[in-house]
């Protein structure tokens, strides 16, 4: 035990690597700019209603081969545009 005091401590690996890996994982899938090439006017789309959200849900579920309850559709207004945000849970 006495000699243990003089034993060189094993150098612990710093936490930078963990932080870097986690940051990469978080950031990689997050920020991506989606260029708006086509804007459909409100007259064509009409007022977003439950039926429209249901249609989007069905399409996304089919497209990604998941159950409909694993798809969440949200509408947000950004700078005068309505942006459709869909979250798909694969597992």
């Amino acid at each position: 035990m006495f000699f243990g005091l003089f034993r060189r401590k094993k150098k612990k690996e710093g936490s930078r690597k963990d932080a870097k890996d986690r940051l990469q994982a978080i950031v990689s899938g997050r920020r991506h700019s989606v260029p708006v090439r086509e804007v459909i006017s409100q007259e064509v789309v009409g007022t977003p209603d439950k039926d429209m959200l249901g249609q989007i849900k069905r399409y996304v579920a089919q497209r990604f081969k998941v159950e409909e309850e694993n798809v969440r559709v949200q509408l947000e207004e950004h700078n005068g545009y309505v942006v459709i945000i869909t979250n798909v849970v694969f597992h």
Binding site: G14, S15, R16, A19, L23, V27, R30, R31, N79
Partner: protein, 272 residues
């Protein structure tokens, strides 16, 4: 004609207001005409950071309500005659101000200043949208910790959506601890830059001098921190870069306080 910047971060408590105040002072010390706008309506702090809290007569809300013009609402700094503040109101909410109001206010000040810097509130809601509305360029503040960096990433995306392109966005890393980086316990500036894909405007070391100057209501460059190794030098470096000077980012790291043997001895004998 002014260059209009917004200072933003997403996450709160990373130092936006302190940085805004100090960059404003540093720019004014170079003779630039500077107007700082506190867009943090409801929580106003910029007047306190600048030691001007007792001088505020009119606020941004008085301007919005048409009581006074933007120029009439400005408070001039005690030492720097070219530095002005448009203070926020504490008895108001962010909803009482609109992005259009901010655009109108800055357009009325546009020809009288070289720099207009808008201090954004934390978050990405109405206050943030108000603050970014008139800006052409942005300074995104982060600390070297994951929550702050990921929020900064989100904000950069939102700035892009709002029309402030990545080439007009610059990153400032605050509370950088060189010793932790050396030890392998903190992300390096390159790690952060690489992940956010935005160029750096400055690296501010973690410094007690900033807290001391904030306690006194004196911006750090005016609080005896103008030496070669002082943190005040970093704000001067940032101001130089904002003025278009090509100054290496490594210059900021040269100011990291030296904690060598002499400092240790001074601390032991209570001289520091």
């Amino acid at each position: 004609m002014a260059k209009i910047y917004v200072v933003t971060s997403g996450k709160g408590g990373v130092g936006k207001t302190t940085i805004t105040a100090n960059i404003g002072c540093a720019l004014a010390s170079f003779g630039e005409k500077v107007c700082l706008i506190d867009a943090d309506v409801g929580l106003k702090n910029l007047d306190i950071a600048m030691g001007l809290e007792n001088r505020v007569v009119h606020t941004i809300l008085d301007v919005v309500n048409g009581k006074v013009s933007p120029k009439e609402a400005l408070v001039r700094h005690k030492q720097f005659k070219e530095l002005h503040l448009l203070a926020a109101s504490q008895i108001a909410t962010k909803e009482m101000l609109s992005p259009e109001d901010m655009k109108r206010i800055t357009s009325e000040l546009y020809n009288d200043f070289d720099f207009i810097i808008v201090d954004s509130p934390a978050g990405i809601e109405r206050g943030f949208r108000n603050a970014i509305a008139p800006a052409e360029r942005a300074l995104v503040i982060t600390t070297p910790e994951l929550p702050a960096i990921t929020d900064a990433d989100r904000v950069i995306g939102l700035l892009d959506n709002a029309g402030i392109r990545e080439e007009n966005v610059r990153l400032i890393i605050n509370r950088f601890k060189a010793r932790m980086v050396k030890r392998g316990d903190m992300l390096t500036t390159d790690d952060i830059k690489e992940n956010l894909a935005v160029d750096l405007m400055g690296i501010i070391p973690d410094s007690e001098d900033i807290i001391v100057s904030s306690n006194r209501g004196i911006p750090v460059i005016l609080n005896g921190n103008k030496g070669r190794n002082s943190v005040g030098r970093v704000f001067e470096n940032i101001a130089s870069r904002l003025r278009g000077e090509m100054l290496s980012i490594d210059k900021d790291l040269e100011t990291t306080p030296n904690k060598g043997f002499l400092e240790l001895i001074k601390r032991i004998f209570g001289r520091n």
